[in-house]
Amino acid sequence: MSYIPHTEEDRSAMLATIGVESIAELFTDIPEALQLKEPLDVPPALDPHSILATLREYSRQNRSLDEMVSFLGAGVYQHAVPSAVAALIGRGEFLSAYTPYQPEASQGYLQTIYEFQTMICELTGMEVANASMYDGATAAAEAAVMAHGVTGREEIVVSRALHPHYRECIRTYAPAVGCTVVEALWDELEAAIDEQTACVVWQYPDFFGRVLSPSHLVNRAKEVGALTVCAAEPVSLGVLRPPGAFGVDVVVGEGQPLGVPMGYGGPHVGFFCVKKDLVRAIPGRIVGKTHDKDGRRGFAMTLRTREQDIRREKATSNICTNQALMALAATIYMSLLGKHGFREVAEACVRNAHYCAEQLLRIPGVSMLFPDAPFAFEFAVRLPRDAEAVRDALLEQGILAGLPLGRFYDDRKDCLLIAATEVRTRAEMDRFATELAKVVN
């Protein structure tokens, strides 16, 4: 298959216009020695039908969440996504466009981004949101780097209950700009904040699903002039007090739960929000309202002087291509669910997870990892057996039991992180409890 439309005649006519004899002549700037003599070692061409057949074959080597009852979350959640989302983002005008550098040819997309920014602000309780980041982890890392830039300080204090991958990403990004990363347990986080602290970063609900008030962190950070960065799960914000209401400076997060396929980890979409006074420091695109000469409302990217194509090494970030299509998916998802539907989803998740926890805790030997902490729709349990072994045993029953925590926390090899969203039914959770009981004892 080839997507090249040229006919032999086209090529001849074009070469004649250019004034060369062959396409090869156009490549003479490339030293002969560098030009490939042999075809590359990649497989031969396939027609589209065979491409699909081959990939169908590959996908059968997967066991997708359509084929299992899953309680796996840990930052990526299975939700019911209305069919209109894929239908609308698949429209060619959206799918095949790029960054709206020319606003007059891109009003559709620009308006959707403005709507996205508004909705994200609504969820998080913040004043400004950008047009998207790559994902939750890089959004968190960008926030740390921004805090360094804003405060001129070099210490990034990070909660150990922040998603391990987010922490890894911060440890990749922050030291490069001269920061040190200090990790602390939630209970010790406040104490870790001091006059050297550029920012403190935590998660809400945290990696273990706990919902904990960050008021003390916000107060402490204010005292010492550090910024507060909260990584928030967006669907839970349908019922939880938004980070903005606690006075947080920066809210970041992963937008996948907002109608984006899990897709084995990507493409997802990060979000990034700040209080108004930080707007000139934030990474990525922002869309603002404006008008044409006849006063018609229009939208355009704005505060462009923060960005790499204009500010180069002084830019607030190196991000260029972002995750606009997924931000659009999230915007459509939130519109379709609407104020009430969205809240209902969040509530159903919370109710399901609590029901699920209740059933599991009836099993002798199963206990909550954090018995006293409130949780939203995810929770960690301690099992009487190695959690990986339990997970694998349940897989055979068609149940994906959650995430064994051993890989991330050495002392928690017997712990399982379990999520239940609105797609789980009572019967499925009952069966989970039944099967888990069989397996652990």
């Binding site: 997507y3 899990m262 915007t331 919370v350």
Partner: protein, 493 residues
């Protein structure tokens, strides 16, 4: 005509859209499940609209947007080629979309096979020893490369000494921005008369204090850097690592390999060369290739193979860490996989050959009105200047806006920064001669208009959903989110 309403302006209290699944566990008030001070008082003020409202709203918004599917999109440096629909079908299979990134490897062998094949093809196509698909976009790949270079220097005890990254003055903005993000000081290297690197300037700036050079090849001027092998020798002699910005790989695929030119690492934008859709600004899809000596520093986990079994290798003690929440933009990998398989071994070079043919054809056809910035054979894009129109008071921006009236998306303008009134035109190989001719005809007509009726251009576009927008006003009067009551709701859209 009234303004196109925002979705919020369509909202009516109590109106419902899609219903979520009914919750069938025993009813329990939220207040009993969570402490009330952690609950919000009001649900987020999302719009209250019906499903049809939403479908109409976004359908009609899409109709106010230009895409490759509606017309020619010669946005230079962005490789806006046709995004094959078969790739979309492949990537929307539930067997891929419904995969959780934290599933055990045993249940994800299909995904891992796709990624493993793709990463090995990418290494082969670019001529590097290993590749990773973790970076979600080009800039992320740049940063990753610089971090690996940094780790490499550190591993050799030269981390403290090498604090500078050299970047050509023609480079894309992400290059210096990534260098800064990697903790480096940027020094600019001049472009010579012929559009290539000024070797003398390079020599002068190279030294033991330099960590890396970032070189785009073909350059952002659309020219092959003829001296790249020589440059790499000079740089390597001084212990400098050389990164290749592979955004322009569309000019080389199947024809030549940066890995063969002496580069130590490079990034690719699979959303450019390998046709994954740009989606109005993203998702992108990055890929980084490295030579052996940088392999230990690749981001963890590394996708490995043990016979017929694929697995994620987390045991990477020298890894620079992670640049993505999971493994990169996997569903974009599926599309890139499909694209490579479509062309296959024999077909891949045709991409570069026709991309270059198209660019040179345009350059030739418009040169009388829009002369090339550097008068040489170009690669996959041509950078021309609208300077000759300046005497009529017309700028590259005016030409661009007027192109919208002719039904075309404008080229990139004012980049590279070193070319005055730059128009950077990248046609890609998927456009036909007829389309190129129509575009060139439009540009030539606009040049005539510039002489005869320059105001037509100053006030362009005339046939777009809105007229030319006041972007300066937007920056001065920052309004980046809608607020209730901001504006009387309009009746319907």
């Amino acid at each position: 005509m009234s303004d196109f309403p925002l979705i919020f302006e369509c909202s009516r209290p109590g109106r419902r859209g899609v219903r979520p699944p009914a919750c069938d566990v025993p009813e329990q008030p939220l207040g009993e499940l969570l402490p009330s001070d952690l609950l919000r008082d009001e649900p987020p003020a999302l719009p209250e609209v019906g499903e049809l409202d939403v479908v109409r709203h976004f359908t009609n918004l899409s109709r106010r947007n230009y895409g490759i599917d509606t017309g020619f999109y010669p946005l230079g440096s962005c490789t806006m080629k046709y995004n094959p629909r078969v790739n979309e079908e492949a990537a929307s299979s539930p067997g891929f979309t419904q995969m959780h990134p934290l599933q055990p490897d045993e249940t994800a062998q299909g995904c891992l096979r796709v990624m493993h094949e793709l990463q090995s093809w990418m290494a082969e196509i670019t001529g590097f020893d290993a590749a990773t698909l973790q970076p979600p976009a080009g800039a992320s790949g740049e940063l990753l490369c610089l971090l690996m270079i940094r780790a490499y220097h550190e591993s050799r005890g030269e981390g403290e000494q090498r604090k500078v990254v050299l970047v050509p003055d023609s480079a894309h903005g992400t290059n210096p921005a990534s260098a800064a993000r990697a903790g480096y000081t940027v020094e600019s290297v001049r472009t010579a008369e012929d559009g290539g690197c000024d070797i003398e300037d390079l020599k002068a700036k190279t030294g033991p204090h330099v960590a890396a050079m970032m070189l785009t090849n073909p350059t952002t001027l659309g020219l092959f850097e003829k001296r790249s092998v020589e440059m790499n020798e000079i740089l390597h002699a001084a212990g400098v690592q050389v990164f290749c910005d592979g955004a322009n790989m569309n000019a080389l695929v199947g024809v030549a390999r940066p890995g063969d030119m002496g580069f130590d690492c490079m990034h690719l934008n699979l959303h450019k060369t390998f046709s994954t859709p740009h989606g109005g600004g993203g998702p992108g899809c990055g890929c980084v290739g490295v030579q052996k000596h940088l392999e230990p520093f690749l981001p963890a986990p590394v996708l490995s193979r043990d016979g017929e079994r694929f697995f994620w290798d987390y045991d990477r003690p020298q890894s620079v860490g992670r640049v993505h929440s999971f493994f990169g933009n996997f569903l974009m990998n599926v599309r890139a996989w499909a694209y490579v398989r479509a062309y296959g071994r024999e077909g891949l070079p045709e991409i570069a050959r026709h991309a270059v043919l198209n660019a040179n054809y345009i350059m030739e056809r418009i040169r009388d009105e829009f002369p090339p910035a550097y008068d040489r054979v170009c690669m996959h894009e041509c950078v021309v200047t609208a300077s000759p129109l300046k005497k009529h008071g017309v700028r590259a921006l005016d030409v661009s806006k007027r192109l919208i009236d002719y039904g075309f998306h404008p080229p990139t303008n004012y980049f590279p920064l070193i070319v005055p009134e730059a128009l950077m035109i990248e046609p890609t190989e998927t456009e036909s001669k007829e389309t190129l001719d129509a575009f060139c005809d439009a540009l030539l007509a606009i040049a005539r208009e510039a002489r005869e009726e320059p105001d037509l251009l100053h006030s362009a576009p005339h046939h777009a959903p809105v007229g030319r927008l006041d972007e300066a006003w937007a920056a001065r009067n920052l309004d980046v989110r809608w607020s209730p009551g901001e504006r009387v709701a309009s009746n319907a859209e």
